[in-house]
Amino acid sequence: MTTETITAPPAAAAPPGPLREFWGYFRANHGAVGGLVVVIVVLLMAAFADVLAPYPPNLTNNAVFLQPPAWQTGGSWAYPLGTDAIGRDILSRLIYGARLSLLIGLAVVALSIVVGIALGLVAGFARGITEIAIMRLMDIILTLPSLLLAIVIVAILGPGLMNAMLAVAVVILPHYVRLTRAAVITETSKDYVTAARANGAGVFRLMFSEVLPNCAAPLIVQASLGVSTAILDAAALGFLGLGAQPPASEWGTMLADAREFVLRAWWVVTFPGLMILITVLAFNLLGDGLRDALDPKLKR
């Protein structure tokens, strides 16, 4: 906290609050602001899909199979981005797909961050055999190629959106456990923790109200980057036929459906992938910006 007051401009009457200071750093990074804007747009798309989408996502129209986008010959503005092989509007499916992809990204990260923090705190506080067991398990998960492990988990639990989310959550779990444990070990050696302990604070109080808030910055950054990994991996599982099942309008699953039409209808393959790329890119930019803003030490 003291370093922050030193870096604040001396002209200001009062030092800026932590939120304002954060925004000051964050705003300077144009890529991060761009990422934030895209994330908000995708969030709005997901929230107002019912209003924005011209058609329900699974409405088929026998008259318009594989109709090209509006600007190509044979296209019409009734279906701006064209239709797929069974006459569903691609634009509507993309808009509804934002719901699924964001749900996947946020739910997966929420699950693995909660479990990861719990395991990391236990490992960092308990030490000894408990720590070794937890960290060894995390090493093994990290050693196996991530998608391969996720695929095997899904293959065993059965294909489907829930199992795919669970598998991706397991795969990204080690990052949170490692981060939390490392931060806990650094923090517990500091004076304020000793002071709290001397004051009679119990283990849970030490864990959650003393140490955890001071480990928050790296975890927030990792969470933002984790959302992009989760969306990407879940889409890959969907593409392999192991994630969300048709007719769900998940972007990866849409690509899997479109694969056989790659030779005749470029639009059915191009747009879902573009949505994945843009969303993942936005979360990565956001994560980079958060890292720079939350931890100026990491600035190069």
Binding site: G31, D139, T143, L144, G252, G273, N284
Partner: protein
Amino acid sequence: MLRFLLSRITLVIPTFIGMTLLAFFLIRIVPGDPIETMAGERGIDAARHEALLKEYGLDRPVLVQYGIYIGRVLHGDLGKSMITQEPVAREFFTLFPATIELAVCAILFALLLGIPAGMIAAVRRNSVFDHGVMGVSLTGYSMPIFWWGLLLILLFSVQLGWTPVSGRIAVLYDVPPVTGFLLIDSLMSDDKGAFKSALSHLILPMIVLGTNPLAIIARMTRSAMLEVLGEDYIRTARAKGLSNIRVIALHAFRNALIPVITVIGLQVGVLFTGAILTETIFSWPGVGKWLIEAINRRDYPVLQGGLLMLGVVVMMVNLLVDVTYGIINPRIRRSSS
């Protein structure tokens, strides 16, 4: 040095045991009776069920089963595929060269483009080139490669007709397998067209699989170079009057290489993950495609064996990187022993 080596190798053993535990128990989690799962929808009569339970050793206590399993694994026996009845280990080693060939070419592609791009970006910091490299690299890092593969097929195979859509080599060439690496085998064969065909089949999968590593390597090279370029010995070298090229190529680059080597080692896992998707898109006959097919056919021994083998390969490469790193950098060697 010996102590360092031993400490690294002993660290690998619990990881290996953990991996066999994972591979063993993951298959046990499959809901329902394994024999009935294998039999599928046709069902199975009670006597045959009993016999199969005995044959697979599933009537023994779980710990005994694990003991038998690990004993077999250590003898190189990974069980038999339920579909082809071939030993899993043999199938793996037949297909693995195809995956290695693809992975090696992909990492070479990533290195040959990524290191120069990262270096130039660092030297010309904040130039248009630097911003371009960083933008492209962030895009490459965020790229869903299964879509990227489809796009490249759309452009180069469908629109331009430059490259074939799938496979490793055109069917009309029959190259005798010597090394298992088709580029080498076809070069050694008398047929000149075979090498060209193998190469044209390889290009698109190589680019697709190399995209993620390329992005990571370019970023890493840039930041390592930036760090090194700020060091005192670089200023000294410049003060001595050395040419700019000499300073960058000899003094800065060699020191920036150490973190880059580590990153290359870490790419092995990324490459295998990518290989699963790339091989599926391009019908490349490697272990990735084999595993996906095993899932679709519910061939659990193949899945179990493949997971363990790929895990072991990644583990060994990580060990190798660790040891090499210790040899290059004595500080690491001392701090860990």
